[in-house]
């Protein structure tokens, strides 16, 4: 079979997982929309939809993992997966680019304009007289009330060190996998998972402090909006990455992956480095500057 896989194309059989995924997605999103409109039932069907999506992922990834472990995938399939993951990460880069772009546009243009710079003199004079542009700001309307920001060189700096170390530990795990040192692989991968969850724990603590002590909320004008959307979407991606890391940790313990055939491991590692790089951007532009 293995030698056959090398010399012809691989085309998978039909699959019921995509339609299950679509049903889960529509259930979840239509419920989310109804929930936002105040429907009492929708908050339950929302979780049902999410459960269907998770069920789909278990089923779909399970099928792929079984097929991969059975040696059905040749180098061409492996390369298709690599291209797929690469371009998926590119789409994620563009998603974060929107929110970073928003932050830059607001800080470089909108806030100075509201303060009367450039062509904003009339706006400032007639609508927001006396508004002095600063950063952080919740706007000339003082929307959301007074707030304090989170200092960069506290938990955020610690979190930077944690994520950078996790980038190192996953690389060490990768080297161990290539050298077929299973114990070391599991050890470094477990360390990566642990660091990921510690990072998330700190983020949760930071959000809790922001809401309870600093007065910094999603409604704190444009600062609160950019701060929570950027760090929030990053946090969701770290959560997803940490779950992915946990999955491959269990797969490593089960004995999956070979030194020359471990796409899933590499895909997760790429993803993890991606959330790492996004965090560096966040640390510099959201916390430090």
């Amino acid at each position: 079979m293995a030698q056959h896989a090398e010399d012809s194309y691989y085309v998978p059989h039909g699959s019921k997982w995509p339609i299950v995924g679509s049903l889960g997605m529509i259930t979840m999103l239509a419920s989310a929309a109804s929930w936002m409109n105040g429907s009492p039932v929708a908050q339950w069907t929302f979780w049902l939809g999410m459960a269907i999506l998770i069920f789909m992922m278990f089923g779909w990834f399970g099928t792929v993992i079984r097929e991969s472990e059975a040696g059905m995938y040749n180098a061409q399939v492996d390369n298709s997966f690599r291209l797929g993951m690469t371009w998926f990460i590119f789409s994620e880069v563009m998603f974060f680019a929107v929110f970073f772009g928003t932050l830059f546009y607001v800080r470089a243009l909108v806030v100075p304009w509201l303060g009367g710079e450039g062509s904003g003199a009339a706006t400032n004079e007639t609508l927001w007289q006396g508004y002095v542009p600063t950063w952080p700001t919740n706007g000339p309307g003082n929307i959301g009330g007074e707030f304090k920001t989170i200092p960069a060189f506290g938990i955020p700096f610690l979190n930077t060190l944690i994520l950078l170390s996790s980038g190192l530990t996953i690389t060490l795990a990768h080297h161990a996998l290539k050298k077929e040192n299973r114990n070391l692989l599991v050890l470094w991968l477990a360390a990566t998972v642990l660091l990921g969850f510690i990072f998330l724990g700190f983020q949760v603590f930071e959000y809790y402090e922001a809401y309870t002590e600093l007065g910094l909320t999603l409604g704190s004008g444009i600062y609160g909006a950019t701060f929570f959307m950027l760090t929030g979407f990053h946090g969701m991606h770290v959560t997803l990455g940490a779950i992915m890391l946990t999955v491959i940790l269990f797969r490593c313990i089960k004995g999956h992956f070979k030194p020359n055939h471990h796409f899933a491991f590499e895909a997760v590692a790429w993803y993890w480095h991606f959330v790492d790089v996004v965090w560096l951007g966040l640390f510099i532009f959201v916390y430090a500057l």
């Binding site: 699959s15 998603f95 706007g139 000339p140 309307g141």
Partner: protein, 543 residues
């Protein structure tokens, strides 16, 4: 050995693991669980035709209301829902899925592959769409009605949308997920599944234009997702992205939206360029003139599409430097586009031309798309745009590039490849009737709108001043006739698929070249089970 025989042979070799190379027999297996690029392509095309009819019906309501001055048929709010939904349906439901459908059918056959690179994901990219559009259309039946703020969803107006708002946002998210997955698949297929010898610069132009389109899609659909997400949080979760009192800016939404929106218009037109570059050589019996320059021109257009977005918002009060930059950058696009039009004309120059229906639509495309391009140049002039902005001149411009542009190219592609897909010839007589009535009525429909716009008639209004009455009546008559003409198209496609007795040869057309024409009509369920060797330029467009 025929393709059929190769196909059977490989089935036997594969029987020991369940590849399922046989065409599935059950209805659900065939259409719902499918991983086959041809079946998924068919699903996309049928879906798109359905949406084309729904969006077209909305356009009929718009033209009926505008037939005469005054309010006759619909409430103003419903009129605004129609303009908004017509655009969303046509852009995301009709034109884009139609191109993905053609890409599904054609890219594997053109590059010598058995199927798409990621066949299961291919299924999912399609099967998200019917759910997304059911949700979008369902908003018309909610208490608040559908979205009515225009397809560009500008705040603060769009934030006044009632209960349908969140449904619209999530429908847009789903369309984005579908487009991104479809594009990833197309890029992976083109980079990874080409037959030996199918070098990048030997690929058919349709494959090239789709490669670049897919890149644009992956780059900008997440931007749209981000933009509508910010609308959602502004509406429901007290953020202030687009509220000046909180330090935000409603104009910022326009910047983000058009950073998506301008590449989006090339997403709809680049595959059309590819199709026309396939059809003109066939019926001119000459190779495409300037293949290399076509590829580079397409890439240049794609690059420029990222740095021209603010020409959609010249009148919002941008700094002068920005107005000038976006004006000059926009005008630059006419250079690579001019290269393309020149190459198409040069391809036909001294060719032994025949005028079958696909060729008629392709020539119609070159002429009428160029009219749309020229009115685009007028709009690009910042100072002049202050007069044209938000008038029917804009409506005329983008309908010229989208209807006798993208939609004509879709029609051309349908007539050109439908015999390959179905194995039957369509009715040439009815095809020609369809072309000539489309070509005449599309001009009756949209050309007077230039004059309306120059005279100052604003877009997106159900009522107008009486001096605009004559041109509006002409435009509406053209609209009804153009709409009715498209029913002929549905009939022709149905006849070709199910009733036609005339069998198509593998080549179908006398001058056709490329790998898809080496396969039977209709081709085997999996196009190429072993890679064909592409050794000479005879099978490609480049020479």
């Amino acid at each position: 050995m025929t393709t059929e025989a190769i196909h059977e042979d490989l089935n036997e070799a594969h029987d020991d693991h369940d590849h399922g190379d046989h065409k599935p027999t059950g209805f659900l297996d065939r259409w719902l669980f499918t991983t086959n690029h041809k079946d998924i392509g068919t699903l996309y095309l049928v879906f798109s035709l359905t949406m084309f009819m729904i969006g077209g019906a909305m356009a009929m309501i718009i033209r009926a209301e505008l037939f005469m001055p005054g309010l006759q048929l619909v409430e103003p709010d419903f009129f605004n829902q129609m303009t908004t939904m017509h655009a969303l349906i046509m852009v995301f439901g009709a034109v884009m899925p139609a191109w993905v459908g053609f890409a599904n059918w054609l890219v594997p056959m053109m590059i010598g592959a058995p199927d798409m690179a990621l066949p299961r994901m291919n299924n999912w990219s399609f099967w998200i769409l019917p759910f997304a559009f059911t949700m979008l259309l369902s908003t018309l039946f909610m208490d608040s009605g559908g979205p009515a703020a225009g397809w560009t969803l500008y705040p603060p107006l769009v934030l006044q949308t009632g209960s349908s708002f969140a449904f619209v946002v999530f429908a847009v998210h789903m369309m984005g997920v579908s487009s991104i997955m479809g594009s990833i698949n197309i890029i992976a297929t083109i980079f990874n599944m080409r037959a030996p010898g199918m070098r990048l610069l030997r690929m058919p132009m349709f494959v090239w234009t789709w490669l670049i389109t897919a890149f644009l899609l992956i780059a900008v659909m997440p931007v749209l997702a981000g933009a509508v997400t910010m609308l959602l949080t502004d509406h429901f979760f007290s953020t202030n992205f687009f509220n000046a009192a909180g330090g935000g800016d409603p104009v910022m939404f326009q910047h983000i939206f058009w950073f998506f929106g301008h590449p989006e218009v090339y997403i709809m037109i680049l595959p059309a360029f590819g199709v026309v570059s396939e059809i003109l050589p066939t019926f001119s019996r000459k190779p495409l003139f300037g293949y290399g320059s076509m590829v580079y021109a397409t890439a240049t257009i794609a690059f420029l599409s990222f740095i021209v977005w603010a020409h959609h918002m010249f009148t919002v009060g941008m700094p002068l430097q920005a107005e000038l930059f976006f004006m000059y950058a926009t005008m630059l696009i006419s250079v690579p586009t001019g290269v393309k039009v020149f190459n198409w004309v040069a391809t036909m120059w001294q060719g032994s031309m025949t005028f079958e229906t696909p060729m008629l639509f392709a020539i119609g495309f070159v002429v009428l798309f160029t009219i749309g391009g020229l009115s685009g140049l007028m709009l690009a002039i910042t100072a002049a745009d202050f007069q044209y902005h938000d008038t029917y001149f804009v409506v005329a411009h983008f309908h010229y590039v989208l209807v006798p542009g993208a939609v004509f190219a879709l029609m051309a592609a349908t007539y050109y490849w439908l015999p390959k897909f179905t194995g039957n010839m369509y009715s040439e007589k009815w095809g020609k009737i369809h072309f000539w009535s489309s070509a005449i009525f599309v001009n009756v429909l949209f050309f007077p709108q230039h004059y309306l716009g120059l005279a100052g008639m604003p877009r997106r209004i159900p009522d107008y001043s009486p001096q605009f009455a004559d041109f509006n009546m002409i435009s509406s008559i053209g609209g009804f006739a153009f709409g009715a003409t498209q029913l002929i198209f549905v009939g022709i496609v149905w006849h070709c698929a199910f009733r036609s007795k005339v069998r198509a040869t593998p080549e179908v057309w006398e001058g056709s070249r490329g790998l898809e024409w080496t396969l039977d009509s209709p081709p085997a369920y999996h196009s190429f089970n072993t890679p064909p060797e592409v050794t000479c330029n005879a099978l490609s467009r480049a020479d």
